[in-house]
């Protein structure tokens, strides 16, 4: 599907869509919050007022397909690590927005966010983030991976960690699970 889409995008034949008859409202389009309010009046929770960069990154990470790359996303913020943290910590829906932000932190900034990773694998209510990290230990610098794995094996997700840490290519990590 992704390649299909790329093919479609790469092969623009130059056709123009039909004009929309009867469109007279030249005002601003509804915002997502307005659309949600229309759907369920009074039910929409108050947004957590993201920063501009946070909202831009959040929007990019919310896409179903095609998926954005971390490089594309990080280019939307002058301080990408901080912005990605903001999305991980504060964006509630869709669930993959925060997970993709966390993924970019793991894959590109492991050493810088070591404390975050240790917190995720040790948090009772962050099992999803813990699994994300534990599934990608080999993308981290070895010393970071060792610290994270050690914390995970001592935390609330020790069972998940015990199944994943031995799969690491690093002998030091494999040795953590006899």
């Amino acid at each position: 599907m992704i390649t299909s889409l790329l093919l479609a995008l790469a092969c623009n034949g130059g056709k123009v869509p039909p004009a929309q008859a009867g469109v007279v409202d030249a005002g601003l389009p509804p915002t997502p919050a307005e659309l949600l309010a229309q759907q369920a009046p009074g039910a929409a929770a108050e947004p957590l007022a993201p920063t501009d960069a946070g909202y831009a990154v959040y929007r990019a990470l919310s896409v179903r397909d095609p998926e954005p790359t971390c490089a594309e996303v990080e280019a939307l913020s002058p301080t990408p690590v901080e912005t990605l943290r903001e999305v991980v910590d504060r964006a509630q829906q869709p669930p993959w927005a925060g997970m993709r932000a966390a993924n970019c932190l793991v894959q590109g900034h492991g050493a810088e966010v070591q404390a975050d990773l240790v917190a995720w694998v040790g948090g009772a209510d962050t099992r999803g983030l813990a699994l994300l990290v534990l599934d990608q230990l080999d993308l981290l610098p070895e010393d970071v991976a060792l610290a994270v794995a050690t914390a995970a094996l001592a935390g609330p997700h020790a069972a998940d960690a015990s199944a994943r840490v031995p799969k690491s290519r690093h002998p030091a990590l494999q040795a953590l699970v006899p």
Binding site: S4, C11, L35, A44, R64, V88, Q93, T126, R127, D135
Partner: protein, 366 residues
């Protein structure tokens, strides 16, 4: 980038005569679905696959070769050209069958009501065979035809085979979340005459899954599917991370046993950072399942995020620009992303008549 190649320079090669059928046609019946399997040799880069129609409503052709293949044309029994690849290579998408994606291609016909009904007689599908350099070449093309006899194109059942990767079925969070999401999927489809017949299986397949067709596991998985099932593989991660949380093998997806005969979904990406499924997560996960399987049944996004590519349907708004499109199509099941505001997302459960028609014309909708 070889997948972008189109042999335009050689398109004027002379066309030769009728197809060269290598083998006898093997025919099997399973309720309203007939399967015919045979092989055809291409001539001057084109394999001509004959489709005998006698009362069937739709057919699906899966053509597989050692070379790159794509559908170039369809001719009705009167010899009239009803589809030509170049007409659907611009900024409207009708079928992925015309794209050179790999060594198999999948065509479901007809796609829309305006494509007409299948008249009795011999239809012919012309399949282009192209080498890695983008030039026509000759090779044997294995054809698997599925033909649907079911005359009711307003009420149909889709069989979904939901397969958990290694250990995930035993994870209560995952299995409960998936089953709740499937219930949402059924809820989304119900008003459009689409019923879901879902079965669940455990497996030993890797929890980190490749793209459809890029793992030997996918071919193994396909071998166990029945002829009318859509396989949905529940993985933990796709391609080693969170970039992908759901991906369909092709648009449309095959009912044959190829390596792209599946939809892969990441439960973890759909559960989010807490690793559990809230009510909102379940709703969105169910819509994601319906969305990805919608691709498999032939539905494109009504508009792509560049706002200048659309599907081929007349009743999905040809909107232009983010605000216009979110306002007009934000609640459509096939919109390319959920419309959210950090804390919640708009329900996306609407299908137009045209999209519903495509779904019912999918040969696996019985």
């Amino acid at each position: 980038m070889t997948r972008l190649l189109r042999p335009l320079a050689l398109a004027a090669l002379p066309l030769l005569g009728a197809c060269d059928l290598l083998d006898d046609v093997l025919s099997e019946f399973d309720g309203d679905l007939e399967t015919r399997s045979f092989s055809v040799d291409s001539s001057d880069g084109k394999a001509r696959v004959d489709v005998e129609i006698d009362g069937q409503e739709t057919f699906q052709l899966t053509a597989t070769s050692g070379q790159l293949v794509a559908v170039e044309a369809i001719y009705d029994p009167d010899g009239e050209l009803v589809l030509y690849w170049e007409d659907w290579y611009g900024n409207e998408s009708l079928t992925g069958a015309v794209w050179l994606e790999g060594r198999d291609t999948v065509l479901n016909w007809p796609v829309r009501s305006v494509d007409g009904e299948l008249s009795a007689g011999t239809w012919q599908v012309e399949v282009g065979v192209v080498d890695n350099e983008g030039y026509y070449t000759d090779a044997t093309v294995d054809a698997v035809l599925k033909l649907k006899q079911d005359p009711d194109l307003s009420d149909g059942v889709v069989k979904a085979r939901i397969v958990y990767a290694d250990g995930l079925m035993q994870d209560e969070v995952v299995s409960a979340g998936v089953q709740a999401a499937v219930a949402r999927w059924e809820e989304v489809w119900g008003p459009y005459g689409l019923s879901l017949d879902a079965g669940y299986e455990s497996s030993a397949y890797s929890t980190d899954q490749a793209f459809p067709g890029e793992s030997g596991e996918h071919e193994d998985l396909a071998q166990d599917a029945s002829g009318s099932e859509v396989t949905v593989l529940i993985a933990e991660t796709i391609d080693g991370g969170m970039d992908y949380y759901g991906i369909a093998g092709s648009i449309p997806g095959t009912l044959d046993h190829t390596g792209r005969a599946l939809v892969v979904v990441s439960w973890l990406a759909n559960a989010g950072g807490d690793g559990s499924f809230s009510d909102d997560d379940v709703r969105l996960f169910g819509e994601t399942l319906a969305h990805e399987v919608g691709h498999y049944m032939g539905l494109f996004h009504p508009v792509e995020m560049t706002w200048d590519y659309w599907d081929a349907l007349d009743d999905t708004d040809a909107c232009q620009g983010q605000g216009d499109c979110e306002g007009g199509l934000g609640d459509n099941l096939m919109f390319p992303y959920p419309v959210c505001d950090w804390t919640s997302c708009l329900a996306q459960d609407q299908l137009t008549d045209g999209q519903t028609g495509v779904s019912h014309r999918y040969t696996g909708t019985l």
